[in-house]
Subunit: 408 residues, 2 copies
Amino acid sequence: MALINENYLKLKAGYLFPEIGRRTRAFAQAHPEAKIIRLGIGDVVKALPKPVVRAMKAAAEELAHDETFRGYPPEQGYDFLLQAVVDNEYRPRGVEILPEEVFISDSSKCDSANIQEVFGLDNVIALTDPVYPVYCDSNVIAGRTGLPDEQGRYAGMVYLPCTAENGFVPDLPREHVDIIYLCSPNNPTGAVMTRQALEQWVEFARRKRAIILFDAAYESYITDPEIPHSIYEIPGAREVAIELRSYSKTAGFTGTRCAFTVVPKELVAYTRSGDAASVHPIWYRRQTTKFNGVAYVVQRGAEASYSPQGKKAVGKLIKYYLANAKYMRQQLGACGYTVYGGVNAPYLWLRTPEGKTSWEFFDLLLNQANVVGTPGAGFGAAGEGYLRLSAFNHREAIEEAMARIARL
Amino acid sequence: MALINENYLKLKAGYLFPEIGRRTRAFAQAHPEAKIIRLGIGDVVKALPKPVVRAMKAAAEELAHDETFRGYPPEQGYDFLLQAVVDNEYRPRGVEILPEEVFISDSSKCDSANIQEVFGLDNVIALTDPVYPVYCDSNVIAGRTGLPDEQGRYAGMVYLPCTAENGFVPDLPREHVDIIYLCSPNNPTGAVMTRQALEQWVEFARRKRAIILFDAAYESYITDPEIPHSIYEIPGAREVAIELRSYSKTAGFTGTRCAFTVVPKELVAYTRSGDAASVHPIWYRRQTTKFNGVAYVVQRGAEASYSPQGKKAVGKLIKYYLANAKYMRQQLGACGYTVYGGVNAPYLWLRTPEGKTSWEFFDLLLNQANVVGTPGAGFGAAGEGYLRLSAFNHREAIEEAMARIARL
């Protein structure tokens, strides 16, 4: 008799974004005349940079001829892209990463869901609260937790509240933890971790022999020159941290799918008997066994985002969305809302008014302003009373959304 | 202290194909003048069909403009491709599959590695021997087995030998099993399962409430009109079988990455207390939580493989590789080799001569004929004494390889 993985039955309702999609579609069907503005899911809207498109077409043309056809890509990524990552993402910041420490993948979501797999089931997982749901759900599915309580917090997981009081940056845990997910610039709050905060965490991880899974998917949105873009800017981080990056929010790759993960060779975890085990060969084994690499055309597109013209275009995209975020902060502030984030990140973290819950405010915005946000409670118990608004939209849509909210 | 997943330490050496790559590279470095012919890894060599390339370029051009830009794809796949799968892969064979039962992914390798995740850790897994290593290794990593014995067989796994005696088609197991991986046309042996054999397996699974994971990545290579292309051609299979398909070996997508998996709504597994749990919503939850969909350009390319011109081109590719297989069978037979497969499949399963082991024969072919095969032992204990040769190469390379082997 085939047995189901009962851990799936522990998961609350649907994954957050499909649930938002469901409510939005239901509203749209009931009100076909409504012009809905989507500031919910963090999905970019601007065209791919021209050099990226040109590179993808040229790569497709290569595949059209036997002489230049390419079959299975290397599971870890083509050398041309691994080298481009090292040369463009790390070396300019004084960070030495080897090409073979970089793993190209189709998605940061996949990487952040899969990375827990290389670690034992007995690890205690620490999550910030609120948090990107994938970190949590992938660990629930793997069986590292018990059932959720009324607030949706799973037994066995350690939650690190991020609130207005601590500037949405988690304090070091007092409990025992083995694996810590950190995200800066933060999804959903838009907060960033200072160099000092990161140093504290790296020191903590080294002392406890814990591992930090550092999601830096939004690092390009950092405007403050004092804020580190990579955790490897912190001395000693190579021994304790894995870093995740993505092309989704830089070159606009949400529909094109490319990301990468860095696993330094010094990083170790331990067997139950206390022997050190290098993590790099384990992740390599995972990727060569369970993954088959990213499409050639996509890797050529990602490479082109590092060309001089590509970089210029990417810089323009980021500036565009950051200008949206700035405008949103101003307008929402003028309406009397308390707003966080939106300075070093494309997300704004909005206090809901008059003691409304996140989902109540979500429904109110959807019904009365036809604007879709993301309920903070969907990101965790400490997200209750907040709503995330994304700056990823066309300027006219952002202006219209802000005007509608002002009229509420 | 972060703990490693010690199941990884149970795995034998490297994943098979990287190990072949390593030996081949070492030989090439020592003999830079050698013209190596690769019949090892089953990787296609012919150009993508022109309609596919045109569709990919047109899709890239859409992404170059704000008005036609596409962001995150639906995790399950675009409706246009889901519908095309139903209309082209299933309906013409009289099989009714709903679009929402199809899940587009980037890879059959990923799907066949990930699918075990929706099932509990207590299931007894049955594998054919020899077998595609991903089915095995993904279950070892998940923790469903003990250590391997000297033959590389993992404790707790049930192996179903496929030998010349049973025509390389597995007999029903006498032991208790819950999940069974079947692959027809078979990788690596090239054997196919008849309708009668499939009926037996479906009946067995229904009786035992077991689930069949049916890998049909090579169904397009079936030449015998009596052999089913889909397990859903067998009545009752919808309740007990998941089917995996791929564009890799049809439209030449090994470097372009697209595949799909069918999970019928009737399929159930069970909780430990014996309640039926529908598998479809669990796999849907898995894919929406841990996967983010396939690139738009790639899905448009896959769709174009179903256009009249696309189908014609795909048919031509398959014919080309099948003609290679036929030629290889003839030539190797004339040399006195015992050869299986290569009629309904792009793989030939060659008995090694004079009691040579698989890896000895692999090294001999590499060193003396500069031809790369895949050692049968790499696919399991029952593969010892065999070598897999792939028909995926240019005709001239195939002819040259056969001539060199004849001269040995």
